[in-house]
């Protein structure tokens, strides 16, 4: 077997992997180097998230009240089911990857092809799901009002159910249209794009509906967000409200502090980018397997190396899942 190995140009060269420090080949060692450094990058992000959360520990949103949607099930409260599904997809694609590595060790080309293909499909489903998560998060849910201090006020009915702005906001004829970069002074658009309802419209609707209450972000002694009485609600909304927030972006976030949205976009985005590049690398390796490159080389170690990367992406998700969605 060894005699038929196609040369890779690194034989006998110490730093080309000619001998194998720690009994691992050059490529595998380098992949481990990369993984350790990337793990430190991700822990930097997650630790920064923890820092900000501890800083605002009495008003940080609980993820299972934010991510409550499931595709095709509109209006159904399904906290975290979809993220759990995504987790399964990624763990399962890790399984097919490690099965591909195992088949590679046994030089079973067709099995490697099938398992690599399944891994790629799993990765693609995951990236697609993440795009859907982002879309849902950006579009938002019920809408909220932001105060002068940048805090979020959400609306509840007397039963404690969330109420969307569209259910009570009263339309006030308003001719103001959004100022875009393209009209008037160059490159000076508005700080925030205009929302469906303006703050006065929401306030008017709120005053007209006696059963509406305001919920602040601060936790009461039971650990649930504080719900104000009707009088307090009116006072709070009239005195401190300034802006309507629908959905989330980098500056405003109807679910809580803008930092929550920033970290969500940054951490899941960076992870999603890893998954995307993992899928791309897997596709390249997949075609190499199909055309028989590793069969001729006599070793499927390349599959093992991208496998390491792919498992690492799964590993990171396990932590993101815990620290973003569970804790």
């Amino acid at each position: 077997m060894e005699a038929t190995v196609a040369k890779t140009g690194t034989e006998g060269k110490t730093w080309g992997g000619g001998n194998r420090p720690l009994k691992a080949s050059y490529g595998k060692l380098m992949m481990w180097f990369f993984i350790v450094s990337d793990a430190l990058t991700f822990s930097g992000f997650l630790a920064a998230y923890g820092f900000s959360r501890f800083k605002f520990i009495d008003s940080w949103p609980i993820a299972d009240q934010v991510f409550t949607h499931f595709p095709f099930l509109h209006g159904v409260d399904a906290p975290m089911y979809y993220v759990a599904f995504m987790t399964f997809i990624l763990i399962f694609s890790s399984v097919t990857m490690v099965l591909a590595v195992d088949a590679g060790h046994k030089m079973e080309k067709n099995k490697v092809i099938i398992y690599m293909f399944l891994t790629i499909i799993g990765g693609a489903i995951f990236v697609g799901s993440q795009a859907w998560e982002w879309n849902t998060f950006i579009r938002g849910d019920f809408g909220a009002v932001e105060t002068k201090g940048g805090k979020i006020l959400q609306f509840l009915d007397s039963e404690g159910e969330r109420v969307a702005l569209s259910e009570f906001a009263v339309s006030i004829p308003d001719v103001r249209s959004e100022h875009m970069e393209k009209n008037g002074v160059w490159y000076e658009g508005e700080q925030t794009s205009l929302t469906t309802y303006s703050y006065p419209e929401v306030l008017k609707g709120f005053l007209a509906n006696d059963n509406l209450l305001v919920r602040t972000q601060y936790y009461d002694e039971n650990g649930a967000p504080t719900v104000l009485s009707r009088e307090e609600s009116i006072a709070k909304l009239q005195n401190e409200g300034v802006l309507v927030v629908e959905g989330a972006n980098l500056r405003h976030n109807e679910y809580g502090p803008p930092l929550f949205a920033d970290f969500f976009f940054f951490i899941t985005g960076f992870h999603g980018f890893h998954v995307f590049s993992g899928v791309m690398i897997n596709i390249i390796i997949f075609f190499n397997v199909v055309i028989g490159t590793y069969e001729r080389r006599g070793s499927y170690e390349m599959v093992e190396k991208v496998g390491l990367y792919w498992h690492f992406v799964d590993l990171v998700w396990v932590f993101v899942f815990t620290f973003f969605y569970l804790v």
Binding site: L22, G44, A48, F54, A84, P258, V318
Partner: protein, 127 residues
């Protein structure tokens, strides 16, 4: 190249016949742990959310421990750490664990300190 795999997990109490069956076994373990995590996250039992240990809810400790448990099996069995030389294993694992623990410790203490300052002093800053 030799491809011998260590096929026993749980400190040797659970032995698999082949590498493939070990992979499926580990997948089953990871799935069960994930299901438990999600169930706990939805139910949020009173016992676990009401009590704290080291200023953190017991439920969060459970989540963190289960996460580390999953991370161990992904690294050891999917990434074949179990089959690597112990020197490679230690170089990768202890480096990361040491640096990450230090970073988390420092940042969380600092975050809690700033929270106290916001709460008990006159500074009202928000972003």
């Amino acid at each position: 190249m030799a491809h011998e795999h260590k096929l026993a997990i749980f400190r040797g109490t659970l032995k698999f016949k082949s590498n493939v069956s070990k992979i499926w076994g580990v997948f089953a373990i990871l799935s069960i742990v994930t299901v438990v995590e999600v169930a706990l996250g939805i139910i949020r039992p009173e016992v676990l959310t009401g009590n704290t240990f080291l200023a953190m809810k017991l439920l969060n400790w459970v989540f963190i421990i289960l996460t580390l448990f999953k991370a161990y099996y992904i690294t050891w069995d999917f990434m074949h750490m179990r089959d690597e030389k112990s020197s490679l294993r230690r170089a990768v694992v202890w480096t990361a664990i040491f640096l990450i623990s230090y970073l988390i410790l420092i940042l969380l203490i600092e975050g809690d300190y700033i929270y106290e300052v916001y709460k008990n002093n006159y500074i009202k800053f928000d972003f």
